[in-house]
Amino acid sequence: MQTASNQVIPKKPLGKQSELHPPKLVVKRQTDNPKRIAHEHMDRTIPPLSASHPKIVIQDMNFFYGSVQALTNVSMPIPANRVTAFIGPSGCGKSTLLRCLNRLNDLVDGTRIEGKILLEGNDIYDPEVDVTDLRTRIGMVFQKVNPFPKSIWQNVAFGPQLQNVKKRATLDEVVETSLKGAGLWEEVKDRLHTSALSLSGGQQQRLCIARALAVNPDVLLMDEPCSALDPISTGRIEELLHGLKERLTIVIVTHNMQQASRVSDLTGFFLLGELIEFDDTKTIFTNPSERRTEDYITGRFG
C-alpha cells in the first residue's frame, strides 16, 4: 500500500527539478488510497533543517483585480519546513498573494494573474492542474474563524470525506491525529459530536487548523489566524506552529510584528503590492537593508 501511495503522489524529493522545464503536474485525487491520510502523519520523514529546498517558488508575479494591479513583480522562494511571514500595512497585497498560493482568488470575478507560482517545480496555474487537488496539498486557515455549523467530528472529517474516505474507523483515526496535531484533542475528546460553534474562539481556530491538517497538506497558509483571538489563544497557536513546521511548510500573514518575529524563520515585507524585502526574520527585524522596512518595523511609517 505504501509504495502505491508513493507512486501516486509525487510529493517527495522534487528539489532538483528543472524550473525551466516544469513537467506537467500529475496530481491524482487521493481517493485512490484513503488509508494514506491516516498513516502519513506518522511515517512522514522529516528532512534535515539544512536542506531547505524551496517548496514554492513565486516568479515575476503580477496580479490584477480588474484594472487595479494588486501585486507587482513579486518573486520569492518559500522554503520547505520553515515558517514564512508576510508583513506590511493593510492593502499591501500580502493576503492577495497568500490566496494566490492555493488559487482561492480564482473565485473572485475579474481577477487576472501573470507570472508563475511553482509548487515543487510545477506551475500551479497550469490549466491541467486539478484545483481541488491542489487545495488539498495547500491547506488554509482563515482570519475569520470559520468552523462549519456541524459537530467537531464532522468538521475535521469534512476534508477526508470529500476524498471518499468512508470507513468510520479510518475517519476516527484521522480526526484524532488531526485534533492532536492541532493541540485540541485533550479539550474536546469527550464531546466530539457536539456543535463546533460551542467551542471558544481560540478552540475554534485550532479546530480550523485540525480541519486543514486532516487532509494532510504539504503547505499551510494562514491568513492572520490570531487577529480575532486573545493573547493566550494566540500563544497556543504560535506554539503549535513551531511543532507543525517539522512536517509542513507554513506561510503566515500577520499584522502583528511581534508575532512575525516570534514564529517565523523568514519574513517578507510588502508595500503597495511590491515585495520590498525578503530575508531571514532576524535580519529583517534587526538589520533591514531597506529604509522603508526599517521605518515600518520601528513604527515610523506614514
Binding site: N102, L104, L107, D109, T132, D133, R135, T136, G139, M140, F142, K144, V145, N146, P147, F148, P149, F158, G159, L162, Q163, S195, L197, G201, Q204, C208, R211, A212, V215, A228
Partner: protein, 548 residues
Amino acid sequence: MKNVKRFSLKKFLDSGSLFIWLCGGALGISLLMIGGLLMLIMVNGMGYFWPKDLIQFTLNDGTIVLGEWVGSETIPESESVDKPKGHQRIQLKIGNRDLYGLDFRWVDQADIVDESFPADVMAFERREWGNFYGRIKQIQEGESILASDHEQGLTVLFPLLERTNDIQQHIHAIEHDEIGELNHAIEQARLQLRSLELGKEEGGDERVSIEEHVQKLQGLYEIQSAALIALYEKLEHFRITVVDVAGEEKTLSLGTLVKVWSPNRMGIGEKLVMYGENFWTVLSEEPREANTEGGIFPAIFGTVLMVVIMSIAVVPFGVLAAIYLKEYAKQGVVTRMIRIAVNNLAGVPSIVFGVFGLGFFVYAVGGTLDSLFFAESLPNPTFGTGGMLWASLTLALMTVPVVIVATEEGLSAVPREYREGSLGLGATKLEALWRVVLPCAMPGILTGLILAVSRATGEVAPLMLTGVVKLAPSLPVDGFFPFLHLDRKFMHLGFHIYDVGFQSPNVEAAKPMVYVTTFILVLVVILLNMAAIALRTRMRKRYAGSSV
C-alpha cells in the same frame, strides 16, 4: 418666567416623538384590523357548533313560533312606515323548511306577547330539508305503534336511532366499497375491451373471456343492489311522526334523521360534548344539502393534498433555479433582467396563471397524454381535463418566484468564509454547495416555502379553471391502484367558501357554513405554516451562525 417649560411644536417635531407615534399607530391599527378579522371569523365560525336553546315566541296575532335565536337588528326606516321607529326585530331559525317553505324568519319585537323556553321541544337534524323543531307525536314500526306521545317517544327513539344509523352505515359501506369496487372492475373491463378495439387486434379469445368476466361482475352487482334495496326497505319500516309548535304534523322515515337533541334540557356539560361532536362532524364528514350541511372533509383533504403536491413540485425547481442564478450564472445584465422578470412574475394576477394552466397543462399536456396513454377512455378525458395534478402545478408555477427569491437571499446570507473554508479543503464548488452552503441556506429556503404555501392555500381563481369542483364524487386518494389519482377533480376550502356563500340556494342557512369553512381554512394555513416554521427553527438551531 424663563424657567417655565413651554410646549414647543418645533422641539416636539425635532425630538422625533411624532415619528415614533406614527410608527406605533400604524402597527396598532394593523394589529387591530388583523385581530378584528380573526375575531369575526372565530366568533361566527366557532358559534356554529354550539347547540343553541330553542326559544318560543307567542305573537299578538296568536301565532306561536319556535326556533334558534340568530340575531337582532333595528328595523330599517324604509320598512317601518306603519310602525314606530327604532324598534328591534329578531331573526329566528325556525327550520321545518318542508312545512313553511322558509327556514328563517324575522319577528318584530313589538309583536311578541310572550317568550319562553319550553323544556320538551326537540331539534331533529335531517338528511334533507334542514332541521325540524317540534315534538314527537308517534313512533311506529310497520303497523305497530311503539310510542304515542312525546315522553314515551323519547325513551323509544334513541335505541331505534342507533339501529337506523347502523343500517345507514351499512348502506354507505355497500354503496361506496362493494358497489364502488364492482363499478371500478367493470369500468376497467370496458376499457380493456375498448383498447382491444382500438388496437384492431383479433384477440377473440381474450374478448370472450373479458365479456364473461363482465357478466360475472354484473351478476355480483345485481346481488349487491338487491341487498341495498332490502336495507332501504328496512329503513322505511321505522317511521316517526313529528309535530311542530303550531300543531302541524309530518311523518318521516327514521332513516332520514341524523341526530336528535333537546337543547333546552341539556346542561352546559352535555352541550360542550355535543359541541365537540359537531366540530368533529364538520371535520370528518362529507357535505350534504348543496354543501350547506354536513362536513367539509373532502375540501380540507383536497386543500392539504394540493398544497403538499405543489410544495413537492415547487421546492426543487425554485431551489435549483436560484442556485444556478446565484452561484453559477455570470452576474451581469442578463441575470439582472432575469431577476426583475422573476419578481414581476410574482405580481402577475393569479387568474392569468389559471388561464395559462388551462391552456398549457390541461389542454396541451393533458390532451397529449390522453391521446398517447389513455386513448381507450376517450372521449372521456383523463388528464385532458382539470384535476389535482394540473391545479397543483399551476400553483407551483405561480409560487416559484417566491421560492427563487427567498432561496437567493438565503444563499447570499451564507458567510463567504464557509464557502472558502470548504473550497480550501479541496471541495469542488458542487461539494461546497451541497455540504455546507445549502444546509446553511435551508432556513431561507423554508421561508420561501412558507410564503409559497400561504399564498397557494388561499388561492381560488386559478383553481376554478384547473380542477376544483363544488362536489367531488371521490377523494383523490383511494384503495384502487395507483392509490393517488392526480387526474381527479377535487374540492378546496377556498372554493367551498365561494360556492357555499354565493352559489347556494339557501343563503341564510349557508351563512354559518361560510364562517366555519373560513375558520378552518385559516386554521389549515396556520397549521401548515407552523409545521414549516417548526422545521425552520430546528434548522436554524443546527446551523446557527458562528459565535465569534
